[in-house]
């Protein structure tokens, strides 16, 4: 489906000859690839994803020797080249890879890896492995460094979570967590349909208040409420007519990403979305559960990408995955794997170069039984900040990190 289809379907107004509503003209304006319109979607794989059974070194004997019961069989890996392939459940992402829009950054980690979930997830989220704990997140600091640019908007949203992820914790920016799109509009409980219109118009009147000056915080609150109601109405128009251009699987992650797609199409000005897929802490009997998680990831990511592409949004949106650590090379005694170190990150976007970045970590040159990292995760963050979101990374990360070349020019 091309943009014209989207417009016609979504509004029906064009056919009537009316001027396109504001949100549609914004969608058109967005096509000029203004970096201010770029969007980052983070998918956090919580629990420590087993990277070796995700991007599989299928041809490596050491892999099969270390994982006699858990190794992905040579002939079932979705082969990328003579050495590595993807887990068979990642067929959707393999399609993206073949299309050249999925980049795989291999061997991502940091020096002196910490194998505690909490500490390591904190390290990935704060991007401060060495320094003292400051309690704010890398994305939160990025938002705070651009406070004026995002004034009055919702610059970032965490979706489907009860608590705000540490990555988005900021001293100044208040990032909302919403469980569903219903949280982003005025809800009216038990109201007769005939009253809805009345309530909606009255809610708008609240923002117009007649008494008291419009200076100071009262004016600010009125302005904020009015902006909020406008954006929710816009969102409603979009979601009412929003047709996902690809079928989303019936999973939680897919449902969250579908909501993200709707919010992006609604042009709310949100630049960062954060969703999470949990359950990767696979210490025992991991084969089935890990495969299911990868299936959920792959199905959701590929549907999301296809949907965005059909809506002409794929080059404005970049999805990145990360997990707090990979797992040890050797399987443990209970058909699972224990906390390890380096692992990979996936980048899905029409703006990505696609392909592999960096070598697959060696299975023989290990650090205390763990894979060594080749790329510091902060290099990937720096690339996402500097080259994608156009937010200077050094103040956020504390120093300069060499970028990773996974974006198209």
């Amino acid at each position: 489906m091309n943009r014209r289809h989207f417009l016609t379907r979504s509004a029906g107004l064009i056919a009537l000859g009316a001027a396109p509503p504001a949100f549609l003209s914004r969608a058109v304006a967005a096509e000029n690839k203004d970096p201010n319109q770029r969007i980052l979607v983070i998918v956090q794989l919580s629990g420590g994803n087993d990277g070796l059974n995700t991007v599989v070194p299928w041809a490596d004997d050491a892999y099969h020797a270390a994982r006699p019961s858990l190794a992905v069989k040579r002939d079932s890996a979705l082969k990328i080249n003579d050495h590595i392939g993807l887990h068979p459940q990642l067929s959707g992402m393999k399609e993206l890879y073949d299309e050249g829009v999925l980049s795989i950054i291999q061997g991502v980690g940091y020096p002196h890896p910490n194998r505690s979930h909490f500490r390591s997830m904190d390290i990935w989220n704060t991007a401060q492995p060495e320094s003292e704990f400051t309690g704010d997140g890398w994305l939160g600091r990025a938002l705070d460094s651009n406070l004026s640019r995002f004034a009055g908007k919702v610059p970032a949203l965490a979706l489907g979570m009860d608590n705000l992820p540490l990555a988005l914790v900021a001293p100044r920016t208040n990032v909302p967590t919403i469980r569903s799109i219903d949280d982003y509009q005025l809800r009216f409980s038990d109201t007769a349909a005939s009253d809805r219109k009345l309530q909606q118009s009255l809610a708008r009147k609240l923002a117009d208040g007649k008494t008291g000056g419009d200076t100071g915080d009262l004016g600010f609150l009125r302005q904020s409420l009015s902006t909020a109601i406008d954006s929710a109405e816009r969102l409603k128009e979009v979601t009412a007519s929003y047709q996902p251009a690809a079928p989303y699987p019936k999973t939680q992650l897919a449902s969250n990403l579908k909501t993200v797609a709707q919010l992006i199409a609604g042009e709310l000005g949100t630049r960062i979305f954060f969703v999470s897929l949990g359950g990767f802490d696979t210490h025992a009997r991991q084969a089935g559960s890990h495969a299911a998680l990868l299936g959920e990831l792959s199905g959701a990511v590929s549907a999301f990408y296809k949907d965005l592409k059909a809506h002409n949004l794929a080059d404005r949106v970049l999805l990145a995955t990360y997990s707090e650590f990979g797992r040890r090379l050797k399987e443990n005694g209970s058909l699972g794997t224990d906390h390890g170190a380096a692992s990979q990150m996936f980048i899905a976007s029409a703006a990505a170069k696609g392909g592999l970045h960096g070598p697959h970590p060696s299975l023989t040159d290990l650090d205390d039984g763990d894979l060594k990292h080749a790329t510091d995760f902060r290099s990937v963050y720096a690339t996402l900040l500097d080259r994608w979101l156009r937010i200077p990374s050094a103040p956020v990360l504390g120093k300069d990190f060499a970028p990773v070349d996974f974006l198209r020019a």
Partner: protein, 427 residues
């Protein structure tokens, strides 16, 4: 004129709105009956009552102890939030709990790093013990508090490799504010706290790691230990000013002026950091009851949610309100950084406004957050109770007149609109 000159309620008046102003600022919200009581008792007696916590009755104390115990045993921070919210809503001294929250924000410590509901509870008890009392004693307690020592890396502060984390925050965030100390002061002060460690979940003075050598802080020299550095900070001119600014922003106006800061700082010094007489002076002052102070502060999520519940006489579902308060940006025991919540306008985004409005819809239209027990009255009376200011309540009145449904359901719909008004976001 001294901004802290006493407000003379006999001469200048003592109206429902004056009483509501005092109650909203010192506890979260005020029911019809509470406002009526304050109105009858008068300003002086009400202030005395607010500032003198009565003993806890046995059944409250028992439930609170049980909640606290369960949270600690299960090491469940969410459970600990319900304990604190229970204390805030049902406890005998809302102002004590308000000051606990003020100190939690001042000495902001997060369970993200402490990872122990027991230690967070113990720190919260420390805030309660000194909530309206002696700031000097509170500071001495916090410097030995296990959660704080974990939070600011006490055990890493050793003779040969001092860790400056606590010393820096002590000056920057706890007592003086940026600009009133040098990097050298921090380095020297950190040495005075070397060996202030945690062992077996308790404070432990580790003699072997303590640097007994000479130090120079703010120009004075001596073989200072930690307590002496605390005394030096308290003696510093910037300290009462720093506290004055924070108290004014919490209780009175968002941007206090120089004369107001100076007056309150003088009061803090004169009362030797005793919070009760300082607050007595502040809350009974001309400044507090001035037009500039009324409805000038944006309600924090705790004030918004508990204020609505208390005013509408809802015994809240504590788990549910803990969640909504967190979603609105004020996750108790988990402040975003050591700087705490900055608050004010930063509480407000389009998403949090919707969440506030939708909380109001659920509170008035369902039992999700608890049962609404306040008598349903006219829109005018409800608006006066909740807003206590001249606001345009026509939208709520229109709803009451024109919507379909029973009187009760229309009145609840009107309440929803009142709670959604920009005016209600202020206190």
């Amino acid at each position: 004129m001294n901004p802290l000159a006493p407000y003379d309620s006999r001469q200048q008046g003592w109206t429902r709105r004056d009483a509501a102003h005092l109650l909203w600022r010192t506890q979260c919200g005020a029911s019809e009956a509470e406002v009526a009581r304050a109105l009858i008792e008068g300003l002086e007696k009400t202030l005395d009552r607010l500032l003198t916590p009565p003993a806890e009755d046995a059944s409250f104390a028992e439930t609170a102890a049980l909640l606290r115990q369960t949270a600690g045993d299960a090491d469940d921070i969410d459970q600990l939030k319900t304990w604190w919210l229970y204390r805030m809503t049902e406890g005998p001294s809302p102002l004590t709990e308000k000051m606990c929250l003020f100190w939690h924000n001042h000495f902001a410590t997060s369970n993200v790093k402490v990872r122990s509901a027991k230690h967070m509870a113990a720190q919260n008890d420390l805030f309660r013990t000194h909530a309206l009392g002696d700031f000097k004693a509170l500071l001495a307690g916090i410097a030995r508090d296990v959660a704080m020592l974990i939070w600011l890396d006490g055990n890493a502060n050793r003779h040969r490799s001092p860790n400056e984390n606590f010393a820096r925050e002590l000056m920057e965030l706890f007592t003086l504010g940026v600009g009133h100390y040098s990097e050298a002061d921090i380095r020297e002060a950190a040495r005075a706290f070397t060996g202030w460690h945690v062992r077996k979940d308790e404070f432990w003075f580790n003699r072997l790691q303590h640097d007994t050598g000479g130090k120079k802080v703010f120009g004075s020299s001596g073989n200072f230990d930690g307590d002496e550095v605390l005394r030096l900070c308290l003696a510093h001119d910037a300290c009462p000013r720093f506290l004055a600014l924070k108290l004014l922003r919490e209780f009175v106006v968002p941007s206090p002026g120089e004369s107001e800061i100076a007056a309150l700082a003088a009061s803090i010094r004169a009362h030797d950091f005793q919070m009760r007489p300082v607050l007595r002076e502040l809350l009974g002052s001309q400044l507090f009851f001035s037009a500039a102070a009324r409805h000038s502060l944006i309600k924090s999520p705790v004030q918004f949610v508990l204020g609505a519940c208390r005013t509408l006489e809802v015994r809240p579902n504590l788990k549910a309100i803990a969640r909504i308060i967190a979603n609105l940006g004020q996750d108790l025991f988990l402040p975003p950084t050591v700087k705490g919540w900055e608050g004010g306008r930063l509480w407000i985004t389009s998403a949090t406004l919707f969440q506030r409005a939708n909380f109001a819809a659920s509170l008035t239209g369902s039992d999700t957050y608890g049962k609404l027990t306040a008598p349903v009255t006219t829109v005018t009376r409800q608006a006066e109770l909740l807003l206590a200011c001249d606001a345009d309540t026509a939208p709520a009145a229109t709803w009451y007149d024109k919507a379909s449904g029973s009187i009760e359901s229309r009145a609840r719909g009107a309440l929803h609109l009142i709670l959604t008004m920009p005016e209600f976001q202020l206190t």
